[in-house]
């Protein structure tokens, strides 16, 4: 009985997403046939997608735009991960560091990543560095807060185990505390990737030679709605792909968590 119920649930879980995607597709087709000027249909968007290869936008084909965005977000994120997780561990572990940085973090963390864009552009212009820096500054505070919260949550008994078995502060931190906090750290990484991705696209929309965000702006300004849709769909697809890759990576890094 239990088993049967489960397999019915499984089928429902497979069918529901398919129905959801179908609904969107039908809605899209219906809307585009009713208002062809506002909303190009799937066929038109697909043809536009093919043309991004034969007829590059700003001399860059679609994969080039995707790579431009990806490279910015990855560089920004790598710096944010290293510095953010490092600082988060310090804030969570060391009371003095927490006293110094804690209130500053509480103030800076609620700022939405996109709100940094005008500030950073004013400071550093609209060049490549600015876009990377926007990703960095937009994601680092969330990383610090997630990491330090995870470190603070580590059960005292685990630290006692470290002391009883003769670990020094550094050993207890690296062998016990940080691995215990790894799931929280990973939650922070996951948030940073999704918010980093939306932020870089938003930054590119304000001006960039290449990148998916610049593609949206070019389509918009050239009244090329099909191009806008090609860019938007690519943004969504890459975002989804990143999140799938990340959960795969989490399974490799935290194998005990999936049991």
């Amino acid at each position: 009985m239990e088993k049967k119920k489960n397999s019915v649930m499984n089928i429902v879980c497979i069918i529901l997403p398919v129905i959801a995607v179908l609904c969107i597709a039908i809605g899209w087709i219906a809307f585009s046939t009713a208002n062809p000027r506002l909303m190009p249909g799937p066929v038109e968007v697909f043809q536009r997608f093919i043309r991004t290869f034969t007829n590059p936008v700003a001399r860059v084909i679609l994969p080039g735009h995707i790579w431009a965005s990806l490279r910015r977000v990855l560089i920004g994120l790598i710096f944010a991960w290293i510095i953010g997780i490092g600082l988060g561990v310090l804030v969570g572990w060391n009371k003095k560091v927490r006293a110094v940085l804690g209130s500053v973090l509480e103030l800076l963390r609620p700022i939405p990543p996109i709100a940094w864009i005008p500030l950073v552009i004013m400071w550093f212009g609209i060049g490549e560095f600015s876009k990377v820096f926007i990703v960095f500054i937009g994601t680092i505070f969330g990383l610090i807060v997630n990491t330090s919260a995870g470190i603070k949550l580590v059960d005292k008994i685990n630290i006692d185990v470290g002391k009883i078995f003769g670990g020094n502060q550094r050993q207890i931190l690296t062998e016990i505390v940080v691995p215990t906090a790894l799931p929280s750290i990973f939650a922070g990484i996951r948030t940073s990737v999704s918010s980093g991705w939306t932020t870089v696209v938003a930054a590119e929309m304000l001006g960039a030679k290449a990148g998916l965000g610049s593609l949206v702006t070019k389509g918009w300004q050239g009244n090329d709605m099909a191009l806008v849709l090609v860019a938007v769909i690519s943004i969504a697809a890459i975002g989804a792909l990143l999140s799938v890759l990340l959960s795969k990576l989490e399974k490799v890094v935290c194998p005990w968590n999936q049991i």
Binding site: D160, K163, F165, G166, E175, W256, I259
Partner: protein, 255 residues
């Protein structure tokens, strides 16, 4: 016999009071007892009576308000590599394999990988976990997790082992079989053991002597010598039931 009477560990007039905004709270009051070399000593007391607090003072995780702990005749402060511990909530690391958990103390001591593997293999076999070396604790049952905790404590080859209600979280069946396991293990690897429990039958099955503690704050009510009962003990024999009843009558109810 003479050397057997020498105390391995001595707890002398230990008192612990916690101070907080709400005032002072006394958990342990003037506790004194001795543990002889090679002895299996059981501390028996009701729940929340201060047993863990007392153990944490002996192991050096906590500082006493007054009194002293002597190890081999010398007063000790802080953690000591010769005193190891099996924890109440098992406290094995979910992110380390069984083998890595058992090797924790050896790794901290800077021992090389090959030597560690040799030692951990021995103790993993001792606790009956052969074949589970590469498993992660979330894959194991409660009893198996505590076996990891026991192997981890034995692996550093300490002189004294402290076990804080190691079977408290287990179901009755598993608990009973783990009691037999600990008897077998402690017969195979002779150590001085300080074992804490709130279960009278467990105390009478395992203890060479039993130190009975009162309800909070923990005080020593009485010390019972059970050496006249050979192990493994017949838990339905008259002598066993008699001593069990005697201790039971003298036990404070948990609050």
């Amino acid at each position: 016999m003479e050397s057997n009477m020498k105390p391995k560990l001595e707890v002398k007039n230990i008192t612990k009071t916690f101070f907080s905004d709400k005032g002072a709270f006394q958990a342990v009051e003037d506790v004194s007892f001795q543990i002889r070399e090679g002895e299996f000593l059981v501390l028996l007391g009701p729940g929340r009576c201060g047993k863990s607090v007392l153990l944490n003072i002996i192991s050096g995780l906590l500082e006493q308000t007054s009194g002293a702990v002597y190890f081999n005749g010398q007063e000790i402060h802080g953690v000591n590599p010769e005193i190891s511990m099996v924890f109440q909530k098992t406290a094995v690391m979910p992110f380390k394999t069984v083998q890595q958990n058992v090797e924790l103390g050896l790794k901290f001591a800077g021992m090389d990988k090959k030597k560690r593997a040799e030692i951990s293999e021995h103790y993993i076999n001792l606790v009956g976990l052969k074949g589970f070396e590469k498993s992660y604790p979330p894959q194991l049952s409660g009893g198996m997790k505590q076996r990891v905790g026991i192997a981890r404590a034995y692996a550093t080859n300490p002189e004294v082992l402290i076990m804080d209600e190691p079977f408290g979280q287990l179901d009755a069946q598993t608990r009973y079989s783990m009691q037999n396991e600990i008897l077998r293990i402690s017969a195979e690897e002779k150590k001085t053991v300080l074992f804490v429990t709130n279960n009278i039958e467990e105390a009478c099955s395992l203890g060479d002597r039993i130190v009975l503690l009162s309800a909070c704050p923990a005080r020593v009510k009485e010390i019972y010598d059970l050496n006249y009962l050979p192990k493994p003990r017949d838990i339905v024999s008259k002598e066993f039931l008699d001593i069990r009843q005697k201790i039971s009558d003298n036990t404070d109810l948990a609050l």
